[in-house]
């Protein structure tokens, strides 16, 4: 099951490594990770999409351990909330003059933009949800994809909602879900 977390962290060297190391140490797979500045210069925002095989139990563990990092200021789980999520992809398509029209019309359908044109290729920029980008990629594939890069998802909850904070002891904490105990190693 995939979960999306937002973490606000201090903008200091090594913080990304601390966060990534936390996932590595507990053997979680990060599907995507996007980091950037926020409206506050000393705060960065991370959006992490993480595979949680044990659902909420894993999500709780991830949140709790993120909080344990001294440089992490806030953690929210936005997986199941109304949120705007966006990913941006640049796709270099092998398209000479004869295929440009086809790429153009596909781009129009997806509200993508052609941002570079060369003799035998074009770069398409597409923004949107995961599904939209996957859809666009599938249609471009037969034409020939030379290169592709994605930023990873960023997310923001709609309206005044914030994400779920599962930490016990916090004001609006949630922890209702069934808890399966782990098998003990001898």
């Amino acid at each position: 099951m995939q979960y999306t977390f937002i973490a606000l962290v201090e903008n200091k060297p090594g913080v990304l490594n601390r966060v990534a190391s936390l996932f590595r140490r507990r053997n979680f797979n990060i599907e995507s990770l996007a980091v950037g500045r926020t409206e506050k210069t000393d705060v960065s925002r991370m959006t992490m999409v993480v595979d949680c095989p044990n659902g909420d139990v894993d999500a709780h563990r991830i949140e709790a351990n993120l909080y344990k990092l001294v440089n992490v200021i806030d953690v929210q789980d936005v997986s199941r909330l109304p949120a705007v999520t966006r990913d941006l992809a640049l796709i270099k398509v092998k398209a000479g003059p004869e295929k440009r029209a086809e790429v153009n019309s596909l781009a129009a359908i997806f509200r993508a933009r052609i941002v570079d044109v060369a003799a035998d290729s074009v770069i398409v920029e597409v923004t949107g949800t995961e599904e939209k980008i996957e859809g666009m990629t599938e249609l471009l594939r037969p034409i020939g994809i030379a290169e592709m890069v994605r930023t990873g998802q960023v997310a923001m909850t709609r309206g005044a909602n914030s994400g779920i904070r599962r930490m016990p002891g916090m004001e609006d904490s949630h922890y209702e879900d069934d808890y399966e105990v782990a098998e003990m190693t001898p």
């Binding site: 201090e10 190391s21 709790a64 909080y67 001294v70 930490m167 002891g169 003990m184």
Partner: protein
Amino acid sequence: MKMTGAEILWECMVREGVEVVFGYPGGANMPIYDAMLNYPVHHVLVRHEQGAAHMADGYARASGKVGVAMATSGPGATNLVTGIATAMMDSSPVVFVTGQVAAHLIGGDAFQEVDVTGITLPITKHNYLVTRADEVAEVVREAFYIARSGRPGPVLIDFCKNAQVEQAEFVFPDEVKLPGYQPPERAPQSDLEEAVRLIEKAQRPVILAGHGVLMSGAEEALAHFAVKTQTPIASTLLGLGAFPASHELSLGMMGMHGEVHTNLAIQNSDLILAFGMRFDDRVTGNLKTYASKAKKIHVEIDPSEVHKNVRVDVPLVGDLKNVLTDLIQMVDEYDHDEWLQQINEWKVDADSRSIMNWPNDDNLYVAHLVTDIWKATGGGAIVTTDVGQHQMWAAQYYPLEKPNRWITSGGAGTMGFGLPSAIGAWFAHKDQEIWAIAGDGGFQMTAAELTTAVQEGANVKVAIMNNNFLGMVRQWQEFFFEKRYSAVNMLTPDFVKLAEAHGVPARLVTKREEVNEAIEWARRTPGPIVIEFRVVQEDSVYPMVPAGASLDQMLQRPERAVK
């Protein structure tokens, strides 16, 4: 005022109350060692950096203050690693300061350059790389604050050589600015009320007292709460001493080598009050069958421990002392006579198998020896241990009445911890009697620190329980590998000669009638002492919950002697 980074380090450490540091110099921390000469700090030169880490840890645990250990870059820093991990697993507040190559050389594989912040990231509460002198004051201030506050733990400062010699304006920060670090103080009122509702209903409650009781200084509040609600207290290995062992509500140690009646009480309880403990696998046994009839209240300062191993009904996240103080106000007086009586019956049953009731067969049993040391010291010594069978026997047979006198590596189980942690503890309490109880295996891992003890005049008494085996591993091979002994039979040096070569008076004890005189000799002879006891080779620690078994499935000592 302008100062060098090294001077700022010492200036800050002195303000943090540092009086003694344990360490080892080298190329990358020479400016720190040079600046040290101008400050009122005593430096203890160890024989291996692991020793420095354990000494600082032992000092921290005995004093309740932050311990400090230092090493140079590269191999100096990597030699600390076992000690850092040991402090991390047992939440011990230690600040480690390592030298690092100059900032402009970092990443270039310079001489003795190792990625120390990278290596120690998962075994520290937090760590820092200092590349400029003007960062030093803030970093040192934060490091001490983080080490001792919340759930304490080790913090490492990797200090580039250029930052040690460069100058900066010294300003001691009034406060730390850590927006992401706010240790919880008090549990929310609604959670407290929910807990009280469970406490009111409980017929068979048990308190599980962990290391957190000691770290929070909540011993009095714990006693007050337990007496008011008439709730018996079981202790984790690191929680021993938090509540007087002789008190009628004390159940002693729980878990893998816990008392039978204690584990039975937990398994049959209807309410678990877990205070500053983390449901480690060594205390729970099989989680699927663990205290399955009990509701669970978990008081814990580290929210990541809540629901980690055991799903609890009411988490109370906050400082234990505060939470207990609040709870005491809210609960009524109860009595649980029937329940306490039931536990007592289990206890009588277990007593009949106790090794203490064996007739003297002139063999030396560690259980008896620990009891002899306990009697001789009036139960009041600071006891450190190494790791293995003797550690469990020490936990079982040196019942403690007072806190912070029991120093053992619980979470990491680090062999070699006993002697150096005793030396560290001595620096915290030079007026107190200190005994290190070690196995022949673990003692050899850090035996070189005997010279450190001599150089410092550390008044520590070392009891080596020599069974010529890596005893605990041998016991597991006997129980779980059909007695196929593999790599556990150990040739030991002549410990008496070894000690004497270090300048430490020593004795070998092989007979029962020599025991008391040897202990008294050690007690009245000032300075470090070693006694080697030749103990029964193939004795085993009972009771024992095999790994993965239910907490109430205990192997008990056979009725007769093993031999």
